[in-house]
């Protein structure tokens, strides 16, 4: 089960880095964070899962969204 | 008890599959939101009920009730927020859908 989730994590991270729309990228990173929380949960680490959920989908998303909001959505590079 | 739990799990699976398919095939944001709300409300609710039946009475019940209540309160709000967001950012509904023109304040009967 962990292997499947890790593969999913890999795909998610790859897509998050590849997307041209920064906002979609941030959303994919949120999905990455959710799935890694699940991975930690499966590895019997509820504390780490809790922290990852709080950090990855909470503060991390808020800060990233703020920056994307301030700097524009399109990745022009 | 377990059988009832499995029944609820089955319901959850059916709604989940349908919701996912709906989100993939529907034409515009609002219709997709309908499918998503089916999936995430009904199927998640079914799963929760199933879990409650599966686990039996105990400390799990209390927390599951809290989670279910929280989900029950927040999920329609999330759907509403997404819908309102789509509406306000000017996404027009699918071409076949139409908005009723008449003002509801005229035909109020009281």
């Amino acid at each position: 089960m962990i292997e499947i989730l890790l593969l999913l994590l890999f795909i998610t991270a790859f897509i998050a880095l590849q997307l041209k729309d920064m906002l979609a990228s941030v959303l994919m990173l949120g999905v990455f964070s959710l799935l890694s929380c699940l991975v930690f949960f499966l590895l019997h680490a509820p504390d780490v899962a809790l922290t990852e959920a709080a950090v990855g989908t909470g503060i991390g998303t808020v800060v990233l969204i703020w920056v994307v909001h301030k700097t524009g959505r399109r990745d022009t590079t | 008890m377990i059988i009832a739990a499995y029944v609820f799990f089955g319901l959850g699976i059916i709604f989940n599959i349908m919701g996912n398919i709906g989100v993939l095939v529907f034409p515009d944001v609002y219709t997709r939101l309908q499918a998503s709300s089916t999936c995430s409300t009904t199927s998640v609710f079914s799963f929760f009920i199933g879990c409650m039946l599966y686990a039996g009475w105990g400390p799990i019940t209390g927390r599951l009730v809290v989670i279910t209540l929280f989900f029950f309160v927040t999920n329609p709000i999330s759907a509403h927020i997404i819908g309102r967001f789509a509406w306000q950012s000017g996404i027009v509904p699918w071409r076949k859908s139409y908005l009723n023109r008449n003002d509801p304040s005229e035909d109020e009967d009281d």
């Binding site: 504390d47 922290t51 909470g58 503060i59 301030k70 | -």
Partner: protein, 139 residues
């Protein structure tokens, strides 16, 4: 007649429960998953919820930035003091000066509880300061 906003009402009713849950995570950190940081972030997310839905003013009225930064400084100083107390009580820096009980070590947990609460309040203050600043910035 006041304008009805769904989000506003729901956040009003929900935020206290989120604070409560944050405090639960803080105080039960030694019995269940959770602890200072997580509880602090949950409390801060309650403040985020308030400031997102009701505007920054409501959150500022309940939790002014100034008192949040005072809380942060105060918790930091108390954390240092808790560390120093161990030095004076002879168990070393950040040690646990409480007596070890014979069975199950119940009173011994007091130090962890104290540290959890201090860390949690500090984190809550810090994170909500950041978020309030972010939300204020674009108005």
């Amino acid at each position: 007649m006041k304008k009805t906003d769904i989000l506003e009402l729901v956040s009003r009713k929900l935020a206290p429960f989120m604070f409560l849950f944050g405090l639960y995570l803080l105080t039960y950190g030694h019995l269940s998953p959770g602890g200072g940081f997580q509880g602090g972030v949950v409390i801060a997310s309650g403040i985020i919820l308030l400031s997102v839905s009701r505007g920054i003013e409501t959150a500022e009225a309940l939790f002014p930035s100034f008192s949040l930064s005072i809380l942060e400084t105060f918790c930091f100083i108390l954390l240092l003091a808790a560390g120093l107390a161990g030095v004076f009580l002879g168990v070393g820096f950040l040690g646990n000066p409480l007596p070890r009980a014979a069975a199950a070590g119940v009173p011994r947990v007091g130090m962890i509880l104290l540290l959890n609460i201090l860390v949690g309040l500090k984190v809550a203050a810090g994170v909500s300061l950041i978020c309030l600043r972010f939300f204020r910035e674009d108005e």
